[in-house]
């Protein structure tokens, strides 16, 4: 482990070509995707949407066995029920998101009027509240189920997140997410980029870290570890906990902006959620 850290340090020194980053989001993204293409030349770009299984054949076999009858299918069923349930006012989630809720590709997006990043989970709760219904908890349970149903119906849609250039606040939100991704946090002093970029595919104790390219594509996820469904923000919080950083609030500004950044980095890949993970 120590050796790994040392190697990482050397790697980082080698990378520090020029300190200031003046590049815009588009340049960021192309450098980001290039990084993974160089790092994992055997993995086709498309395949990064399958997380760690895109780079780890032995784990992929087990994953494929789980995907034969994935546990998230039960979540999709539950989610459909919630999605179609009639509210007290006679409407339903379908009144907000259409008959099948296949709107995954619309999120996350920059909402100019409100000056903030909108995510699908946030939009689900806003729809509920606007219709006098109780909002759902963001990390697991019913929210993950509804999100699973909507994501399932959206499978195959491409990620195409935009950072509108006519609103400097959108760029600022993107930059905040980017900084989140690259800054070291917690007592263990890890950045998202340490595990999921510069040492992606290496072992941390008993686990191999996944590449961050494709991180935002497959949510919500049934994790064997959780034995339940969870949203992307649940995973963000779990990662932060692992490195002993106090997690931020699910759907708070920090995580929404991080989702904005990570999704933008994966532009061009497919939304293929829900998924099964270890």
């Amino acid at each position: 482990m120590k050796k790994i850290i040392r190697n990482v340090a050397f790697g980082l020194l080698g990378l520090s070509v020029s300190a200031a980053s003046v590049a815009g989001p588009a340049e960021d993204r192309s450098a980001f995707q290039k990084f993974y293409e160089n790092r994992f030349p055997d993995t086709p770009l498309e395949d990064f949407q399958n997380g760690v299984y895109s780079i780890l054949p032995s784990a992929r076999e087990q994953w494929e066995a789980i995907e034969e009858f994935p546990p998230y299918e039960l979540a999709i069923e539950r989610g459909e029920e919630i999605y179609k349930k009639t509210f007290a006012n006679g409407k339903s989630l379908a009144s907000c998101f259409g008959e099948d809720g296949a709107v995954r590709e619309q999120y996350p997006h920059w909402n100019k009027e409100r000056g903030m990043v909108m995510t699908m989970e946030l939009a689900i709760n806003e729809c509920l509240e606007a219709n006098g219904e109780k909002p759902l908890k963001y990390k697991k349970g019913a929210m993950a189920d509804v999100s699973a149903y909507m994501s399932y119906n959206s499978r195959g849609q491409r990620i195409n997140v935009e950072i509108p250039s006519d609103d400097p606040r959108a760029l600022a939100a993107y930059e905040m997410g980017k900084e989140q991704f690259y800054t070291k946090r917690g007592q263990l002093n890890f950045a998202c980029a340490d595990c999921h970029m510069h040492t992606a595919g290496m072992m941390y104790r008993a686990d191999t870290t996944s590449p961050a390219l494709g991180h935002a594509t497959s949510w919500p996820v049934f994790r064997s570890k959780w034995q339940s469904m969870g949203t992307l923000h649940r995973r963000f919080a779990g990662c932060h906990n692992n490195i002993r950083a106090n997690p931020y609030k699910a759907q708070g500004e920090e995580y929404r902006n991080l989702e904005y950044f990570v999704s933008y980095m994966s532009n061009g890949l497919e939304y293929n959620g829900p998924a099964a993970r270890k």
Binding site: A59, I66, D207, R223, S224, K225, G238, N242, K278
Partner: protein, 150 residues
């Protein structure tokens, strides 16, 4: 080959028993504490299949990972081209090793896939009962605990 023809070689003495077995069978793979609560694999097999002597065979195909992604859900698959009557899965280090027995009636493929719990690194054994004899394939599955849990 009809696997009932195998039974014919058992001879006249056991003809009555053979006839019984050859009848359309109802769920032979019924659960019993006698087999499934045994602490030793051999005892479990003895009580499940009436035999405990096993022969390793490359005709028994066991598919299980070298390193389990998660010990709570380890995909395990057993298949054979032999004329099989039953299939069993043993997980040596679990509190009771016998995890599953399956009955394979005529016309059903000698195949079973499931997901198992493994508390720690363990030997996994696939057992195929064919012609009253037990054939096996084994492999070690490494179960690691502690990583980037979350």
């Amino acid at each position: 080959m009809d696997r009932r023809s195998v039974l014919k070689v058992a001879g006249a003495v056991t003809a009555a028993a053979t006839a019984l077995v050859a009848l359309p069978r109802v769920a032979f793979a019924a659960y019993s504490d006698n087999a499934f609560k045994q602490k030793a694999g051999a005892d479990a097999l003895q009580n499940a299949f009436g035999a405990s002597a096993t022969t390793p065979s490359d005709q028994v195909k066991l598919k299980a990972p070298d390193i389990a992604e998660n010990g709570a859900v380890v995909p395990v698959e057993v298949e054979t081209d032999m004329e099989a009557e039953s299939i069993a899965i043993l997980i040596k280090e679990n509190p009771s090793p016998l995890a599953l027995t399956a009955d394979i009636p005529a016309g059903t493929k000698a195949l079973v896939k499931t997901r198992c719990r493994m508390g720690k690194t363990t030997q996994v054994t696939a057992v195929v009962k064919s012609g009253g004899k037990l054939y096996t394939a084994s492999k070690e599955v490494k179960v690691t605990i502690g990583g980037c849990g979350g």
